[in-house]
Assembly symmetry: C2
């Protein structure tokens, strides 16, 4: 009904996560209405990202430099590697700013359902990094899902031969969480891992 270019723009925007056909239409119209203030800068930055951003060959983070800014930061601890599923998880860890070590992005989890085996993830490169030495701890910061925990156990098994400690994030109450809204599994985990107050 609209011009084919417009229909195609709506369709492509609708393929972004979190956007349905209705919001894609609104976004496309907003772009075409705000040509100078929105469409032109978006085009420029998309081109810049296409030309400059690439995955870090060392840790899998997305950055304009390779190795990435995290890998080359001299202020960061070199002996700890935090293994995450995706780049967004790396960003989440960085936002918390409680962690100042290295990262390794797996690119997902093992998943029998989706047919993802160890060869589809960045596991070989993780083992190579640990084997190269200098790493004292590997933190498996994977999701508390079935696939995430399966992957964590698999990685722990593969990392066992190396002389580094292997840890995972604690399970328990999220801050602000109320007991009567919490699922039983989390409550069990929080109870088992209870800490002394004295």
């Amino acid at each position: 009904m609209a011009a084919p270019e417009i229909e195609r723009l709506i369709k492509l925007i609708g393929r972004l996560p979190g956007l349905g056909p209705r919001s894609a239409r609104r976004a496309a119209l907003s772009l075409m209405k705000h040509r100078e203030s929105l469409m032109r800068p978006l085009l420029e930055v998309l081109e810049a990202c296409r030309d400059k951003v690439a995955p870090c060959r060392r840790c899998g983070n997305l950055d304009t430099s390779d190795p990435c800014a995290v890998c080359t930061d001299p202020q960061r601890v070199k002996s700890v590697v935090c293994v995450v599923q995706e780049v967004e998880d790396l960003w989440a860890m960085e936002r918390s700013s409680a962690y100042r070590g290295q990262f390794h992005v797996l690119g997902g989890t093992l998943s029998a359902l989706d047919g993802r085996g160890p060869d589809n993830l960045a596991i070989g490169s993780l083992l190579a990094r640990v084997e190269a030495g200098g790493i004292e701890e590997v933190i498996l910061a994977l999701g508390a899902t079935v696939d995430g925990q399966t992957t964590a156990h698999y990685l722990a098994e593969r990392l066992r031969p190396f002389a580094c400690s292997i840890t995972r994030l604690a399970h328990g109450l999220p801050l602000g969480g109320e007991l009567n809204y919490l699922d039983q599994g989390t409550l069990d985990a929080a109870l088992q891992a209870r800490a002394r107050l004295d």
Copy 2:
């Protein structure tokens, strides 16, 4: 925290309607992960839209031709003009396919709060179109909001001197609407405009 290009991409995507900072981050990552299947085609179609799409000088519709495909369609009735607020409303009318006449996009409503007066809307060009003759009916298809209805009354006043009938969309129950979920205003309007069944 991420590269400045990435942060800028997230910020710009976050300025699209319906996208918060969280979904903007997901969308930006999705673009960078699916470079060939998503980012490249999106760049191409954005460039095509930037270069080709412009508002129709006659009706305000967005299209790759000027006058637009609706204005130049020989199959469409020329003597009826449907006045809508925005291009998305024109598209909504076109999706319903119950209407086969001309359009006129106002570009919004009168709004004392937002400081939009008659000069900020495409009212002069509407009056010129009606004055040029050949138009028998102007349908004011504006939103059933305070601003929409104020604008409709203002337009009706301005159009009164011309020899054309002025109509508005019916108010009443939306299809599938249940009475006990309906606001009082709609119910009153539906009752007043009740139709005979015999």
